[in-house]
Assembly symmetry: C2
Homo-oligomer: 439 residues x 2
């Protein structure tokens, strides 16, 4: 059996013994390709003999890795840069001017910091939309987690800009495909109906279909977005997307606060996933919560996302599960809406399926994207109900060990190379603010 | 200089060197009585020589200890026992039947668990209302933090019950006074206008005045409470309390969701503190957020509380600060309401003043109720704005070291005796549920 140091680097077979899962005590065997090979009450001793590393999980809870279905990862560099401002001032005076000074290197360091934060809080896959995404891909490749990455396509109805955005999209997709890293999937990223023309949307729909890749879009975040769409196109935002071919079973639509019942039905008919971002929606005061019951009634699968760190300001999906469940209850005036097991399903199985990384369940044949949570943490004491404790009491700090595709990325809270990432990201953030202040 | 083991037990002088505070780098010297003796940019070397223990805080953030102004600490034993149910079913089928089986020993262990959780998340003082409060006092005495404790007075307008509640209140106050522990203060605890008669309220007001102790009451948590008060008394709840003498500068009124502007003005005129409990209010779907702007306009000081673990389900005030700031923005449709520095003030200075434990500032003469937060945690990277990171990005897991009245209760995440508390509380919770199931 290998020592602790070796567990981070080696490829091999891992056996997780005696873990508590949502369906009882389980042993889980992971093969050398990083897939779950067997799951049982007690796997035979043969698995011990075959394993290169055995994790004694007798005091740990085993869960599927959490999946963050909407973020702008490199915005970790902007964490705390500007808050508590009116939305337009915040965007035009703070966020956009700073983003204008971003470099590919900044995006690399911001994405490394985001990956570190996600690993430390139990997230094994995320859905990202930003710029300089080749650099984001490099960061994800090195960090060891999974991501669907897209370039945020914004043409502002200008034909020249559209051509540039098309080229940027094609470049990123080719680049990611050339990496041949199964942990990293390309997607197209129509920013929103108010920033992308119907022509742009149609091109993206066709290209995603031809390339067999996903779509990541913002949808109906604010009432203004809906009203502006009605004024400009005489249609609500989901209908605009549907008419341009953007609503597909490979599409993740973020926010979805201002969907009405017909909008929900439209998403349901197209098999599109909704990504719920409660902390961001509250912080930016969007004034309506995602209509969870209507989406469920329409058969839409709802996944969870944090949004970027400028509007959250962290990437902790444990915290987000709680905010998700609380905001539904509060907004729709129901003590029973979005119970804890459904919040866990949002953050695991719905997310994994939305991004095409398996089904987010602990089953033979699924990727070994798994996290181990401290069963003796205060948040798990007492242990009347595991799902309730995970959603309502624990934060990501209760996560001890994280595996992605069978590779150990954090072991007992240790992430190799963490100091380098913290120092690199701090330095990049400081230099970015200094550059922006100098102009 | 003493070793790490000794820091937990000894009494003596402590010097905190080179900590980052909200107003810059500071050294803080603590005298042998647990008071802050001196605060400076750089204290002279004399302080090093005099100190029994020096904490190098060069990579730490120093804050006043957080203050939880409304909880039912022993309800940690009910964490996750029942959630996501309609309010009346939850209370009548789950919470009250279980509480009927509570013993003094249970309250001791539940309160020990609560104190452990508060210490681990940076809270140094709390305001508690429950039963078997002599046992809660024993737990607080042993845990080393500060509390204002009251017996939850409920007479249901029955004269016999009122006499019992009066005796229970007097017994607790005498008991706490006899302990002569300056960390533990007694208070009276009129549960609410719908559970305590005007006669009961008047007696409590007179007794608190005579004994020079505080008052802890639930106020206008739900719309039903307001409507029922109007039906029964022709007055809104704050007016009932005012007319019975319950609104004083030593009163903490919890929840305050359904206050109108006149209610806010009434609290302001009486100098009463409001305790804001956003997570509980969302989970129980009370359908209105505390009117923070109106309370501020009326000059009311607003402090922060978690409520009990059955309706939250943790005691992490870092998480609560974020929820507080987000819920105000969302509910009152304003991106600027309750900015991060004000959320920190709620959780520190407003809370300390509300409970009579100093002013919650790092100043000479104040009690050394202090916490040290990891400056190199992901949530503090990058460090553009300390207040923003603390409120919006960090959870209580970022707290490394906690001092209460100059005594070190946690040092670099180690709390002596933690395993005993976790085991004792787990055992008590399990036995409680087993007893309740057997009846």
């Amino acid at each position: 059996m290998a020592g602790t140091d070796e567990i981070f680097s080696r490829k091999g077979r891992i056996l997780i013994r005696n873990a508590l899962t949502l369906s009882g005590k389980r042993d889980v065997s992971i093969d050398a390709n990083g897939s779950i090979e067997a799951v049982g009450d007690t796997l035979s001793r043969k698995y011990d003999q075959d394993a290169d590393f055995v994790i004694d999980a007798g005091r740990l809870v085993l869960l599927p890795g959490l999946v963050n279905t909407h973020t702008h990862a490199a915005m970790t560099l902007l964490r705390g840069y500007a808050d508590d401002m009116p939305l337009q001032d915040w965007l035009t005076q703070k966020i956009w001017p700073l983003e204008a000074h971003l470099t590919g290197d900044d995006v690399y360091w911001g994405t490394r910091l985001a990956c570190l934060e996600m690993i430390r809080t139990g997230t094994t896959a995320f859905n990202d939309m930003y710029f300089y995404m080749e650099d984001a891909a490099r960061a994800v490749d090195e960090a060891g987690i999974k991501a669907q990455l897209c370039y945020g396509f914004i043409d502002l109805s200008l034909p020249d800009k559209r051509e540039q955005e098309i080229k940027a999209t094609e470049r990123l997709v080719s680049h990611i495909k050339s990496m041949k890293n199964p942990r990293i999937r390309p997607a197209v990223g129509p920013h929103a109906v108010y920033t992308v023309s119907p022509e742009g949307l149609r091109w993206l729909a066709g290209y995603s279909s031809e390339q067999k890749i996903g779509i990541h879009v913002h949808l109906s975040e604010t009432e203004k977005e809906v009203n502006d769409a009605l004024s400009q196109y005489g249609k609500r935002p989901p209908q605009i997307l549907a008419d341009c071919g953007i609503l597909t079973p490979g599409t993740v639509a973020a926010h979805c606060c201002w969907l009405d019942r017909d909008d929900c039905a439209l998403l349901g008919r197209h098999g599109t996933y909704a990504s719920y971002n409660p902390a961001s929606n509250m912080k930016l005061a969007v004034n309506r919560a995602l209509p969870y019951q209507d989406l469920r009634d329409a058969g839409v699968q709802v996944a969870l996302g944090t949004d970027g760190c400028a509007s959250n300001n962290n990437l902790d999906l444990f915290e987000e599960m709680k905010t998700a469940a609380l905001l539904q209850k509060y907004s729709w005036n129901s003590q029973t809406l979005l119970p804890a097991p459904e919040a866990l399903g949002m953050a695991t199985s719905a997310g994994a399926k939305a991004l095409g990384f398996g089904n987010g369940r602990i089953e033979a044949g699924q990727p070994a994207d798994l996290i181990l949570v401290d069963r003796d943490a205060v948040c798990n004491t007492p242990l009347h109900n595991l799902a309730s404790n995970l959603v309502y009491a624990c934060s990501g700090g209760a996560v001890r060990t994280v595996l992605c595709q069978g590779r150990v990325l954090m072991y007992d809270r240790e992430v190799p190379g963490e100091e380098v990432v913290l120092a690199g990201a701090s330095k990049a953030a400081h230099a970015l603010v200094t550059r922006a202040a100098g102009t």
